[in-house]
Structures are given as C-alpha cells and as structure tokens.
C-alpha cells in the first residue's frame, strides 16, 4: 500500500479513522494538540442512550489505534500547513516536517461558552453549571451545592447557544435534548428525593432509542418537562436561584425557585478547525462548520483534493455517527490514494 496519511485531531473521529487506515495498511500520523487522545470523550461519564460509560468507548478507541502503522504526536501545535502539488506539508513544533499524500481533518467541536448567555448566570452564580460540569460531578461522585448540601430541585435548560440568533447559532446541536434527558434520569437516581425540571423549546428525540429514554424519564423517574425558553435567572438573598420562563403550554409566565441549574451547552466549530480552515482555504457553511461537497453522498469530501473530513468538524454528531463518519472518510481516503480524485 502506498500513501502516508496525516490525521489532524485525536478525538473519537481521528482515533477511529487512524485505526481503520492503519488496519488497511496505510502509514498514519496522528496529531493531537492536547496531552492525551480522546478529546471531548474524556469529559463524559456516561453516554446516551444506554448509559454506557465513556471509559468503555475510550478503551475501544485506544485499542483501535494500537497499531504499528500509526505514529503518534501528542501535545503538538501545527506551525504551518500547505499543499504543494499532490503533497501536503505539515510543520509541527517549530521545525519537524511531515509530508502527507492525504489528510483527514478530525478537528471536532468546541463547547459553546455559556458565559455568553449572561442572562443564565453561568460564572456569576455558583450553582449554575453546564452539562459537562455535571458529568464531571457524576464522575467524581460529588453532586453537591457549593455549601456542601445535596441539591433537591434541579432545572435543566435546553438550547444554550443553539437555535439562538443572539449568539449567531441558528442550528440545532441535536444532542443536548437527549443529554438533558439522560442527565435528568441520573440526577433522579443519584438524589432520590430530588425533583428535576427540563425547560425546552422542542424536544428533539430523533436518534435510535431517544424517544424511549424520554418516556422512561417521565414514567419511571417523574422528570417534569416545561415548554418555554428561560429568559432570566436571578439569585435570592439565601442563594436560591430564581428562574423566569413562560410556560407556553399554559400560556402564562412562570416563576420558580431552584437549587441548581444545568445549562445544555451546544456545539460550535472548534478553534483548531478554524486554524486549518484558514491555512488551506477550506469552505465553511453559514453555521461555520466545514461544508462538505455534497450533503448526501460526499459528506467527507472537502474543496481541497486529498483532504477529507471526519466527525463533528462538519456538523454536530453523536459518538455512533462520528465513528461511522470516520469510517466513511477512510473509505474516501483509500479511494483517493488508489484512484486519485475523479
């Protein structure tokens, strides 16, 4: 087999793509800016819809990249990235040069910075946290308020940084609804006498087994769903959060006191992706994610020959979709290396 392939980004998509390429006999260089592989998966305690542990998926991915055909570079930064005829030239860490016949861009997403929705009080009130903060609390086994007490009433706000013109993100991040339902169930299991309220605009339970999980949250765990976008969060003198929302199904404004509020932060194209975009003149859509050449049958193909996308740098995706997308990127790479661009 001929061909050196560089995979940029060592998260779920990058690890899967590297493993599959290496198995097919190609020489792969996997680049990751962080000190460890795994990307956002490292933040996740349990995954939806079956609540499998994030570590279990990490184990699978570690196993995938355990291959002598892969060269690893962790904690690196890319100084220069250019294409010269059919070759990509990548300079890393102030000097080292890597030549590649094809590139897989698996640079992923960044979590929306919830401080930007100032009205929700993230970074202002101690007991307003994000979905990722909550996963960390689950993982560390310390789901407590700042004063050390167990929260009894927890609110979950959907669509934080998604479907919101005010922050420039018109798209749906797609995974937050099911994450909210999963986390609501886990809170109810963790704190038996707690009450959980989900504030949603639409419940988008489009994936396999999502709707069933939603039903289970209502039936078995008594999670309350209130349709309305939270407009403001304040704090009372005794540190209770006061949430204002319109209960749109009752057609009335509603005010409620909560101990803790969890914000379902959405997904945005990552800074790493934007750096690659600038270096090689890659096309992006209105949502700032990479725009592939065809929505239906070319979702891995970029506007640069020999450069292919894998995973959430093109759109919000769950783990299952990310792995499938990485595999289809590999099939595009192999086709390109054998037949050139058609």
């Amino acid at each position: 087999m001929n061909g050196n392939v560089v995979v940029i980004g060592g998260g779920t998509a990058g690890m899967e793509a590297s493993g599959q390429l290496a198995r097919a006999g190609y020489l792969v260089t996997l680049l990751e800016k962080a000190e460890e592989f795994g990307g956002h998966l490292n933040n996740w305690y349990h995954l939806f819809p079956d609540r499998r542990s994030g570590e279990e998926v990490m184990k699978y991915l570690d196993n995938q990249i355990d291959n002598k055909n892969i060269t690893f570079h962790k904690g690196i930064r890319i100084d220069n990235l250019e294409k010269n005829k059919d070759k990509f030239i990548i300079k890393i860490n102030g000097g080292k040069e890597i030549i590649a016949d094809a590139i897989v861009v698996a640079t992923g997403f960044d979590l929306f910075k919830s401080e930007r929705k100032e009205e929700y009080g993230y970074g202002i009130y101690d007991n307003v946290i994000t979905s990722v903060d909550l996963e960390r609390k689950f993982r560390n086994g310390d789901l407590k308020l700042n004063n050390g007490e167990s929260p009894k009433r927890i609110g979950i706000v959907h669509c934080v940084g998604s479907r919101d013109e005010k922050v420039g993100n018109l798209y749906c991040s797609k995974l937050c609804c099911v994450t909210a339902v999963k986390q609501a169930i886990e809170i109810r299991e963790y704190i038996k006498d707690s009450k959980v309220f989900c504030f949603y605009m639409d419940m988008r339970m489009g994936g396999a087994l999502y709707e069933e999980l939603y039903m289970e949250a209502q039936e078995k765990y008594g999670v309350n769903f209130i349709r309305g976008k939270v407009s403001e969060v304040g704090e009372s003198i005794d540190c209770e959060l006061i949430v204002k929302v319109e209960d749109t199904l009752a057609g009335r404004p509603l005010k409620m006191e909560l101990d803790m509020l969890v914000l379902m932060a959405g997904m945005e194209i990552s800074q790493g992706s934007r750096d690659v975009e600038k270096a090689l003149g890659l096309k992006t859509g209105d949502n700032r994610f990479f725009q592939s050449m065809d929505n239906h049958f070319g979702s891995n193909i970029s506007n640069v020959d020999g450069l292919f996308y894998a995973g959430t740098c093109t759109a919000p995706m769950n783990i299952t979709e990310t792995i499938s997308h990485a595999r289809s990127a590999v099939s595009e790479v192999i086709n390109y290396l054998k037949n050139g661009s058609d």
């Binding site: 199904l249 057609g251 009335r252 404004p253 409620m256």
Partner: protein, 119 residues
Amino acid sequence: MEVIEMEKFGFTISTGRQIDYESNDRRIAEYILEKEPSFRLCIECGGCSSTCTTANFTLFSLRELNILIKRGEIEKVRENIKKCMLCGKCTLVCPRGVNTRNVVVLTRQALQKADYYAI
C-alpha cells in the same frame, strides 16, 4: 363610618398572571399521579382537545387543564372540568396511552376531596 368601596369608582387590584410555582398547591396533581400514573406521560400534544366534542363547542381544553393541574393552578380547572361528558374519545386518540378519561374522573374526585380537606 361607611366603608368606601373603591371598585365602585372603577379601581381594581391587578392579580397578575404569573404562575408562582412555590405558592401553588399541587395536591390534586399528586392525587391523580398516584391513581393514574399514565398522567405523567402527557406531552401536551393536544390530540385530546382536537377530538373533544366539548372543546369544539365551548372554551374547554383538556390539554390546557392537564398543564394547569400539574402547575397547581386549580381555579380554572374547577371551573372547567365539569364540562367534560366523559365520552372517552380523548383516551382513544392519545399517542402516549394516557387514560385521559380517568384523569378527568380523578380530577373531579380530587377537587371534591380537597373541599373537605380529605387529601
């Protein structure tokens, strides 16, 4: 001295439309949930209201009453729940399998019991 009734002069006190979740009384919702757990599964789709004969002729919405019960806004429920003729068509169309007819029956029971401080 004669008490001056300000309302005679066109002054009223605005009660406000906000649902104050903390001060509301959700005993009726709890009573229904205990006896008819399928009540939890309502997703407020409005299927019940659209098939409802009463809703097609009067200002009656079982969907809205479901929400008001859950929020503890009982006065409107009390005014309206009598309008249901218990035909059960709503139960036939519910996509989540809520026994809506029984919810109406239990709401009436609960309101009666609440009046006698029995729940």
